[in-house]
C-alpha cells in the first residue's frame, strides 16, 4: 500500500541522508524502522509526509507511492488528506496553545464536528493526563506529557496510515507500554503504522515487519520476529547480549581521558 522505491534524499548541498532506500509497507502492517543516530530514519518519514522542504531537504531520486498514487510533489496537507498522518520527531507541539487547542488543531481536516468531538473524547479516554491538563498551555507539560500529546494529536485526524517518529522518546516504561498498546489497537482498527524507534525492543514487539537503516541505506528488511532473533539486531539495537561485548565496535568510544580543569 505504501511503497518506497529507490529513495535518495539530500539536505542542502550536503551528503545524502538516504540512499536508494526501498521499503514496502503492506496494508494493515506495522512496520518498524530501526537504525542508529543519523541513519536517515527521520528523513524517510519526512520524505513520505512531504515535509523535507522545511529542512532544506529534497528527494533526489526514487518514488513514494500510496495506493498506487505517486506522492511526489504533493503538499503535506494533500498527503494528510489522503490519510497519511505523521507524528514528527521531537514532539513539535504548539507550545503557546493549550492541550485542547493542540488536539483541535490535530483535527483540522476533519469536517464533521461530531467526528472531531468523538475523536477527542476517545483520545482523552486513552490518555487521561491530556484530559486533566486540557486547559494547560502545552509548552508547560513535562517532556513525556508532550510526547503523549503529540501522539494524541496525530490520532485526531483518524488517519489510514500513521507515521510515528520515535513515539516513545522520553516516556516512562509504563507509558511505553501504553503507547505500544495504542499502536496495536489502532492497527487492529485497520490503520497501517510505520514506527521509527530507537527502542527497538518495543518497536519489534509491536511490529509485523522490520527494516534496519544504516548510514542512509536499508540494510535489512524482514519480518519483525526474524529481526528480533537476528544476532546483529540484538547486538546493535536491543542492548542485549552482554557476552558479545556491549557492541563496542558498533559505537566506538573515544579512548581519551579527562582530568580536572584548573586555571
Amino acid at each position: 500500500m505504501l511503497q518506497i522505491t529507490g529513495l535518495t534524499v539530500k539536505y542542502g548541498v550536503g551528503v545524502h541522508a538516504l540512499q536508494d532506500a526501498s521499503v514496502d509497507v503492506p496494508e494493515g502492517a506495522v512496520a518498524a524502522v530501526i537504525g542508529g543516530n543519523g541513519a536517515g530514519k527521520s528523513s524517510l518519514m519526512r520524505a513520505i509526509s512531504g515535509t523535507l522542504g522545511f529542512h532544506a531537504g529534497r528527494v533526489v531520486e526514487g518514488s513514494i507511492t500510496y495506493d498506487g498514487r505517486n506522492l511526489a510533489g504533493l503538499s503535506p496537507q494533500k498527503i494528510l488528506r489522503l490519510g497519511i498522518a505523521h507524528v514528527p520527531e521531537g514532539r513539535r507541539i504548539l507550545g503557546e496553545m493549550t492541550v485542547l487547542e493542540n488536539l483541535r488543531a490535530g483535527g483540522a481536516i476533519v469536517r464533521s464536528t461530531r467526528k472531531r468531538v468523538n475523536a477527542l473524547q476517545e483520545i482523552m479516554d486513552r490518555f487521561p493526563i491530556l484530559a486533566e491538563r486540557r486547559n494547560q498551555r502545552a509548552g508547560l507539560l513535562s517532556g513525556g506529557e508532550q510526547q503523549i500529546l503529540a501522539i494524541g494529536r496525530g490520532l485526531m485526524s483518524s488517519p489510514k496510515v500513521m507515521l510515528l517518529d520515535e513515539p516513545t522518546l522520553g516516556l516512562s516504561p509504563q507509558m511505553v507500554e501504553r503507547v505500544a498498546d495504542t499502536i496495536r489497537e489502532v492497527n487492529a482498527s485497520g490503520v497501517t503504522v510505520v514506527v521509527v524507534e530507537q527502542n527497538a525492543a518495543m518497536a519489534l514487539g509491536v511490529a509485523t515487519d522490520g527494516h534496519v537503516i544504516e548510514r542512509g541505506r536499508v540494510v535489512l528488511s524482514d519480518s519483525a520476529a526474524a529481526l528480533r532473533d537476528s544476532p546483529d539486531v540484538r547486538r546493535l539495537f536491543l542492548g542485549g547480549d552482554v557476552d558479545e561485548g556491549l557492541g563496542l565496535d558498533a559505537a566506538p568510544a573515544s579512548l581519551a581521558t579527562l582530568t580536572r580543569w584548573s586555571a
Binding site: Y11, G14, I34, G35, G36, N37, G38, S42, E89, G90, I129, Q136, L140, L141, S142, G143, G144, E145, Q147, I148, E166, L169, G170, L171, S172, P173, Q174, M175, V176, E177, Q198, A200, R235, L236, F237, L238, G239, G240, V242, L246, G247, L248, A250, A251, A253, S254, L255, A256, T257, L258, T259, R260, W261, A263
Partner: protein, 273 residues
C-alpha cells in the same frame, strides 16, 4: 569541592497544580544519583528548582553551605552546578565549538570592552579555554562535528553536545536530564560508560534523570523515585527495586539484567582509564 546537594521539603506549585510536594533527598559527593519516576512526576521540575529556573514555593536546596534558593540561575551555575537539558537547548545556528564555548562563561571574564579591544588578557583566556573545550569534545567523541552548526546534527548527536556542554561548565555537580533518550542501545551504553568515566576521572557528583531502567540500575549509586511530585522511594538500586510502590507506579515489569550490565560497565570504564 566535595559538597553534597540537599533538597529539604521542596514544594513547587503552579496555580492549582502541585508539581513537587515536600521532596527531600541528598546527593552525596562523588556519587551518581538517579531520579526516576513516571512522566510528569516532577523530575525536570526538580532540576529546574535546583538550577534556579523555578522558585520553590517552600523548602530549601543546599549545595554544601550555599542556599541555592536565594540565587539567580547564573549564580547557581557559578556555584558549579552544571546541567544538560531534556529538550535540547543548543543555539542551532552556531557551531558545536561555539556552543561549547558558552559553557565557559562562568569561568571567563572578558567583557565587551576587553573583547572589542582584543586585550592580551582576553586573547589568552580565549585560547586557553578553547583548548580545554577541545579536550572535552574529544573525550565525549565530538571531534568530527566541532565545526558543524548544531542544528544540522541528528537528534542523538545533539544529545551528546548537550552533555559535553554541561561538562564544559566544569561542574562540581553534573545534572543530566534524560541523556540517552533517543539513542540506540549501543550508544546508550557508550554514554553510560562516559558518565561513569566522568565521575571517576573528575570526582564530581552526577544527578541523573532517565527512563532507561537498565542503565539507571547499573549506573546509579543511589536512586530517588518521584511520583505525582512526591518522593515515594529512596535508596540503593537494590532497595528501590524491591520497593513495591516503585514497581507499581513506574516499572510495571522489569527484566533488566542489571547486575550483568553493571559488571560490563565497570569493565569498560577500566578500559578507558
Amino acid at each position: 569541592m566535595a559538597r553534597s546537594l540537599t533538597l529539604q521539603d521542596v514544594s513547587l506549585r503552579f496555580g492549582g497544580i502541585s508539581v513537587l510536594d515536600g521532596v527531600s533527598f541528598t546527593v552525596n559527593p562523588g556519587s551518581i544519583h538517579a531520579v526516576i519516576g513516571p512522566n510528569g512526576a516532577g523530575k525536570s521540575s526538580c532540576f529546574n528548582v535546583i538550577s534556579g529556573l523555578y522558585r520553590a514555593t517552600a523548602g530549601s536546596v543546599h549545595f554544601g553551605d550555599v542556599d541555592l534558593c536565594r540565587l539567580a540561575p547564573h549564580q547557581i551555575a557559578a556555584q558549579g552546578v552544571g546541567r544538560a537539558f531534556q529538550n535540547i537547548a543548543l543555539a542551532p545556528h552556531e557551531t558545536v565549538l561555539d556552543n561549547l564555548m558558552v559553557a565557559r562563561h562562568r569561568l571567563t571574564r572578558a567583557g565587551m570592552i576587553s573583547t572589542a579591544l582584543a586585550l592580551p588578557s582576553a586573547r589568552r583566556e580565549a585560547a586557553a579555554h578553547r583548548q580545554r573545550v577541545e579536550e572535552i569534545a574529544i573525550f565525549v567523541g565530538l571531534t568530527d562535528v566541532l565545526r558543524a552548526p548544531a542544528g544540522t546534527l541528528s537528534y542523538g548527536w545533539r544529545k551528546k553536545v548537550e552533555l559535553a556542554r554541561a561538562l564544559a561548565t566544569e561542574p562540581d555537580i553534573l545534572m543530566l536530564d534524560e541523556p540517552v533518550a533517543g539513542m540506540p542501545a549501543g550508544e546508550k551504553m557508550e554514554i553510560a560508560a562516559l558518565i561513569r568515566a566522568i565521575r571517576d576521572a573528575l570526582g564530581i557528583s552526577v544527578v541523573l534523570v532517565e527512563h532507561d531502567m537498565p542503565m539507571v540500575m547499573s549506573l546509579a549509586d543511589h536512586i530517588t523515585v518521584l511520583d505525582f511530585g512526591r518522593r515515594i522511594a529512596d535508596g540503593t538500586p537494590r532497595e528501590v527495586m524491591a520497593d513495591f510502590h516503585v514497581i507499581q507506579a513506574y516499572l510495571g515489569t522489569t527484566d533488566a539484567p542489571a547486575d550483568e550490565l553493571a559488571d560490563a560497565l565497570n569493565q569498560e570504564v577500566a578500559d578507558r582509564a
